[in-house]
Symmetry: C2
Subunit: 292 residues, 2 copies
Amino acid sequence: MKKIAYLGPKGTFTEVAAKAVFPNDEFISFPSIPDCMDSVSIGDVDFAVVPIENAIEGSVNLTLDYLIHNQKLMINGEITVPIEQQLLVHENQLENWTKIEKVYSHPQAIAQSHQFLRSYLPNAEFEYTNSTGSAAQHVANHPDERIAAIGNSLAAEQYGLTIAQSEIHDYENNHTRFVILKKDNICLTEQSPLFNGDKTTLMVTLPADYPGALHHVLSAFAWRKLNLSKIESRPMKTGLGNYFFVIDVAMKMDEVLIPGVIAELEALKCQVTLLGSYPCFSLAKKNNEVKV
Amino acid sequence: MKKIAYLGPKGTFTEVAAKAVFPNDEFISFPSIPDCMDSVSIGDVDFAVVPIENAIEGSVNLTLDYLIHNQKLMINGEITVPIEQQLLVHENQLENWTKIEKVYSHPQAIAQSHQFLRSYLPNAEFEYTNSTGSAAQHVANHPDERIAAIGNSLAAEQYGLTIAQSEIHDYENNHTRFVILKKDNICLTEQSPLFNGDKTTLMVTLPADYPGALHHVLSAFAWRKLNLSKIESRPMKTGLGNYFFVIDVAMKMDEVLIPGVIAELEALKCQVTLLGSYPCFSLAKKNNEVKV
C-alpha cells in the first residue's frame, strides 16, 4: 500500500483527485502545498497530489514556483477533476441562509462564485481560508453563527453540513488539474478507464532578453508539428521582466522528437529541464458523485 | 482636481503607487479591485489604480481577468513600485514579537515573506486579509492580542504600528506594476522624472487549437524586430486548454509597425484587442521613503 500526501484537510478537491488515482492506498493530509511537496521529497510518502491549474483562475502559482525554485520533483501523472461549488451551512442556518453575514472559503472558490455572491449575498463579508475543507470545518464548528462555506459535496458529507444552494460557481466547464509528484519519473500505469492521453512538461529559460527569443523557442516545436497544450510564463523572481516558460507538449517522451527539441533549444543557449513525461487521467463529470 | 480610485484601505502599496502618479489629486479607496474598476467605468472617478503584476508572484489574475471579461477599460499608464515588507506589531507586542501566534496579511505578502516566517515564526498561523492595509488596521484594533501584520512602512505610520522586523521579504528586486485605468485611452504626460519608456498592450485570441498557432502569432512581432516585454496566457474561462494571450510591446503605438502586426494577426483569424498604449513610470527604491 502506497502512502499518498494530499492538500488537506478532508473534503478538499485534492482529496477527490487523489482517491480517483489511488483508490486503495493510504492518505495523509497536509496543511499546505509546500508541506505536501516536502513530505515526498524527504521520502515520508510515495507520492504527493497537489493542484496545478484551474480552468478559470489559471495556474496555481505556488505549485509551479515551489516545483521550480524549491523541491525538484518530477510530475508522474495528472488528474483532471470537475469543480462544482456548493454553499454549505450548518442546518441551524438553513432557513435563513440569505442572511448569512460571512462566507468562508479558499480565495479561488470565492472568486469562482463571484456572481452568485454579488447577487444573493451582496452584504456578506468574505474570509479567506487555506482550503475549502477548512472553511467547511470552521462552519461545522460554529453552528450558531450566521456563516457559510463554499466547498464541494464531499465536504458537506464529511463535516455534516447542509447544501443551502448547489452549483453556485459562475462558469460551467470548470475543472482543476492536479499533478502527482515523486522524486523520480516512474511510469504510472495507463491501464485505467480514466486515462486520457500523455503529456511531457518542459521548463525553458531564454538565453537573454532579445527580440524574438520566445519565437525561436517555439519554432523548435512548430516545425516538428508538436502540439503544445499549454505555455505559461512565470517570474524568475530575479526582477520584473525576467521569466521562464513552462511548456506542456501533448505527447509522451519519445526517442526522436522531444530529444530533438531539447537539443535544438540547448544549442540556442536555452536552459531546458524535463519536469516529467506522464499519463493524464480525467474524472468525468458524473463520476464526481461516485465514491472514489 | 481629478478623482482617483485605488485599492484600499489606507496604507496599501496601491496608495503609494497612486500618489506617485497623481500627487495633488483626490483619492477614494475601494475594498476590491472590481469595485475600483466599476467606479471608473460608471464615471464616479477619473482614473482607477490597481495592481497588475508582481515580480515574485506574477500577474494579478483578478485585474487581468476583470479587464478582459467584465469592464472594458483602457490602460492609460503604468507605475512600478518597489515592495518592501515589514513585520508590524502593536507596541504592546514589540518585546515578545517572537511569540506572535497569528500573522495577518494579503496572501501575496505572506507568500513573499515565506522564508522569514518559516525561520522566525514557524508556529504562527496565517490569516489572509484583502490587503496589507486591512491587516495593519486589524492589528492596530487589537493591541493586546499576540498578532502581527505584514505590510509597508506607510501602513505602520498610518495605523500607529511599530516595525518589529524590517525588510522581511524573501527576494530582493521585488516590485509591483500598477496600471492606471480609464474608459478611453487619453495620453498621460510623459513629463515626469519617474518616466521610464512606453508600452502597448494587446490581447490576442488564437483562431483554433492547431500546432504552431502561437508561433505564427509571435512571427508577426519577430520579423518586425519588436521587443515583447511580457507574454502571458490566461484562461478563456470556457474550459481547460482554452487561453488568450496578453502581449506587452516595448514601444508606443505608431502608425506602421503595431498596426501592421494587428492586420497580420487578423488575417490569420486571430482576434486582437488593443488594451492601451501608455507611458510607464517607476518609483526608484529610495523614493519609497519619500512622502508621496
